[in-house]
């Protein structure tokens, strides 16, 4: 696998995009304990899928909470309080799937501990939780930026999948400290302040198109105020 972070630690920034293919694990849970056991056991790509696919599937507002575990805990087990806790996890705080998985496990274990009756709730057979994982295909796009103007220009042209890849996938699944855009802006263009502003966004609360608009606005603001000396 290529090291995109190293590749993009150069003057030019190559935009990549990603596609994903959903793979069924054949593993399913019908109550909270089974869910917990499997959350601990399934591959990281499955945890990643169930906490992130909503970002791509629903590019407009929909009534689902932002991860599948929360949605299922509420809709199949009627455990609204636990569902809210799992839905409210501050995903942007975690730099690895491992740490995100640990936090989900901690919340569920803690809840079961305080509410042992929750173990008695079962989903009906047609509402079992099916664990899915995904295969990511990372593909280079023709878009390359050599400076801030070129970066802005490309941001307007690339697909939302490309934005998704550089903001979410590169950071969490590839275990980088920050997103690709901030890394390149901060290290190659020395645009440390702009990089910091993009890092500080909570991308999980935007739709992908709104996230694009927000980043474009930050870059345009920087260009208006003069580039870094």
């Amino acid at each position: 696998m290529i090291q995109l972070s190293k590749k993009n630690n150069e003057k030019a920034f190559r935009f990549y995009t990603r596609f994903h293919l959903r793979v069924l694990t054949g593993l399913k849970a019908t109550n909270i304990e089974e869910l917990l056991v499997l959350i601990k056991k399934v591959p990281g790509s499955s945890i990643y899928y169930h906490t992130h696919h909503f970002l791509q599937k629903h590019k407009h507002i929909s009534p689902e909470p932002p991860n599948d575990f929360a949605f299922w805990i509420e809709s199949a087990l009627n455990e609204e309080v636990l569902a809210e806790k799992v839905a409210s996890i501050d995903t942007v705080k975690y730099h690895s799937i491992r740490s995100l998985r640990n936090e989900i496990v901690r919340l569920i274990e803690d809840y079961i501990d305080k509410n042992p009756r929750t173990k008695l709730r079962f989903a009906s057979p047609n509402k079992a939780f099916h664990f899915i994982k995904s295969i990511s295909f990372i593909v280079p796009t023709p878009y390359v930026a050599k400076d801030l103007d070129g970066f802005l220009d490309a941001l307007k042209k690339i697909s939302v999948d490309s934005i998704y890849f550089h903001i979410f996938e590169a950071r969490l699944r590839l275990e980088m400290e920050t997103n690709d855009f901030s890394f390149w802006l901060g290290t190659a263009l020395m645009e440390v302040e702009l990089a910091g502003k993009i890092t500080a966004l909570d991308p999980y609360t935007y739709t992908m198109e709104d996230l694009r608009k927000k980043i474009i606005a930050l870059v345009e603001e920087r260009l208006r105020n003069g580039k870094a000396k």
């Binding site: 696998m1 596609f19 959903r22 054949g26 407009h60 689902e64 295969i135 295909f137 593909v139």
Partner: protein, 407 residues
């Protein structure tokens, strides 16, 4: 590239560019699709769209059909029903009919793909040719609901399935513990097909006159499905009768006859008996004329899909694409297409279907909103371009074990 470019108006030009990019990685590979019928039914319909577009993208993609006798299709229909969980006795004699026709196809068919794409149980035994086709990759595409299959039927197919490199299912609920990688790919609809394109006023009038339907008289509740027990057309009539007590409406049942479905006449007879002499029930057994189906959907006020089991039920996507309010059973791939109370209404019983139909007929603004949300959901997730992309990714995935692939 003309045909493919047209899809840009719905999914954006970038999506089309990405399809071309992915196709480039498949140069040199030959993909051979095999199923049991060239016309009728959802599988043939999807292949008739997917294959030419993959070819247009420069992918060497071909489609061939197995041979079969009426007895063979009786057996495969019984297997189909048993996979859906219906009790069906598969006798030794029936399995011998299956094996005999399979042996003939194994012997006589010209198989040449680098990637062999086998659809549904009818041609599944072709996998026996794998050992003689070195380096070939084999995919079994299951279009049916196998969430609760009859154990004997599944046990009969399992040794075949386990020899494949990948199995493809339409819903997470169909997953099993099995040897091949299991990939989740939903089918799709083609916005430019005769079944989904815009229709003219003249076309609407022609169809309505031909079948003597008048949508101005009473609102139309419609189910479009083959006359198959698993589509529960008699259940739809019962639901309609419950609605009719409170809302004066008419029921339109429309079904065609597929070449590989021997049960149509029996079920159609049951439907006519259940309909009795109610002049507001129109139970039509029609030729498969796609634009007529299109018209039926467009003149309907509520579209129903009250299946007991479903592989996917593309009729739901078709109806939603026309921004129609839909009431459908929460089975198979239907919950993937409808988010309850957001892009349609899901039901679990005849009574539930009746209640939902009444609700939509009595609250047209709510029905309109559900239809609009539904159309947007289909645009984003169930158009042919997404299907093309996932098939190409599936082909590429056959050559890797990794979770992250850099092309």
């Amino acid at each position: 590239m003309e045909k493919l470019n047209r899809y840009g108006q719905f999914v954006g030009k970038r999506t089309i560019e990405e399809l071309r990019m992915l196709a480039g990685y498949l140069q040199g590979k030959v993909i051979q699709h095999i199923n049991s019928t060239a016309v009728g039914g959802g599988v043939a319909e999807i292949l008739s769209k997917i294959v030419p577009l993959l070819q247009e993208l420069g992918v060497n993609c071909q489609w061939d059909v197995i041979k079969g006798s009426p007895e063979f299709f009786d057996v495969t229909k019984a297997i189909h029903n048993a996979l859906h969980g219906k009790e069906a006795e598969l006798t030794d004699k029936m399995l011998e009919v299956f094996n005999e026709i399979s042996r003939m196809n194994i012997r006589e068919m010209n198989l040449y793909g680098d990637i062999m794409f086998i659809h549904d149980p009818q041609p599944i035994a072709l996998i026996k040719r794998k050992s003689g086709m070195k380096k070939s990759k084999w995919i079994w595409r299951c279009h049916v609901d196998v969430s609760g299959p009859d154990k004997n039927a599944w046990g009969f197919l399992e040794p075949f399935i386990n020899k494949y490199d990948a199995a493809v299912f339409s819903s997470p609920h169909f997953a099993h513990q099995m040897k091949p990688r299991q990939v989740l790919i939903s089918p799709s609809i083609d916005p430019f097909s005769d079944k989904n394109r815009e229709v003219t006023r003249e076309e609407i009038d022609t169809v309505l006159n031909k079948y003597n339907i008048d949508p101005r008289q009473k609102p139309i509740v419609c189910q479009i499905s083959r006359y198959d027990a698993l589509k529960d057309p008699v259940g739809v009539i019962k639901a309609y009768k419950m609605v009719k007590k409170y809302v004066d409406c008419q029921l339109l049942l429309v079904g065609n006859r597929a070449a590989d479905d021997p049960e149509t006449d029996k079920i159609y007879k049951e439907v006519l008996e259940a309909a009795g002499k109610d002049p507001d029930i129109h139970a039509l057994l029609v030729e498969d004329i796609p634009y007529e189906i299109n018209v039926f959907q467009r003149v309907s006020d509520v579209i129903v899909q009250k299946s007991l089991r479903e592989g996917f039920a593309l009729t739901v996507s078709e109806a939603l694409w026309k921004a129609k309010p839909v009431v459908a059973s929460a089975v198979g791939g239907i919950p993937l297409q409808i988010k309850h109370k957001y892009g349609g209404l899901l039901c679990h019983s005849i009574e539930g279907a009746a209640f939902a139909i009444k609700q939509l007929l009595n609250a047209p603004e709510y029905a309109k909103k559900l239809g609009e949300n539904g159309r947007e959901h289909i645009r984003q997730n169930f158009l042919l371009t997404r299907h093309l992309r996932e098939y190409m990714l599936l082909f590429l995935s056959l050559y890797t074990e990794d979770g992250i692939v850099t092309l």
